[in-house]
Amino acid sequence: AQSVSQHNHHVILSEAASLELGCNYSYGGTVNLFWYVQYPGQHLQLLLKYFSGDPLVKGIKGFEAEFIKSKFSFNLRKPSVQWSDTAEYFCAVNARRSGGYNKLIFGAGTRLAVHP
């Protein structure tokens, strides 16, 4: 069955530190990959997505993610975090299915706290 694993449940960083959040998925076919972010008190928002092409994708607020097909991974990175990046981050995978319909599977999430 399709699944998504996020390696860290909680991450604490100081401002200006670099960030990398791990995400691995299990599915042998074609996938679309997403990172969603949920800031405190707000709804889930799309941070970035990978559909095809360049495996290094750039999203909003300086985030980027790299799709490594051989490792079934889609890790999220940011060179220098800010206090405002404090949020929960969810990796999600959408597998191409017969009939073409969406089924978005989420990881358990990583709660990031950035200290000034």
């Binding site: 679309n32 709804h43 319909y101 969406n102 089924k103």
Partner: protein, 115 residues
Amino acid sequence: EAGVAQSPRYKIIEKRQSVAFWCNPISGHATLYWYQQILGQGPKLLIQFQNNGVVDDSQLPKDRFSAERLKGVDSTLKIQPAKLEDSAVYLCASSLGQSYNSPLHFGNGTRLTVT
């Protein structure tokens, strides 16, 4: 554009009571989803509608949960009777189409506490 609207934002009920949640998707979005997010876990798909038809309800506990999307716009999710383990945030999302390239837009969710 207006986002996905959900109500209520919070609900506290006792076990064995019933509860209903309402969702209004983004105008023109044909596909609507209900997700359950238990504390410490990622959102789990309960049911997916394409217009007013069900596409996937494989993870919906049908003995107590029901959902409908009359006229292919608004949707309601009902729990009857509620159990303690139903305490969660219930998220509604919509997308323009059901193709797997169509990003989801989420509402703020309804936080349900069952005591």
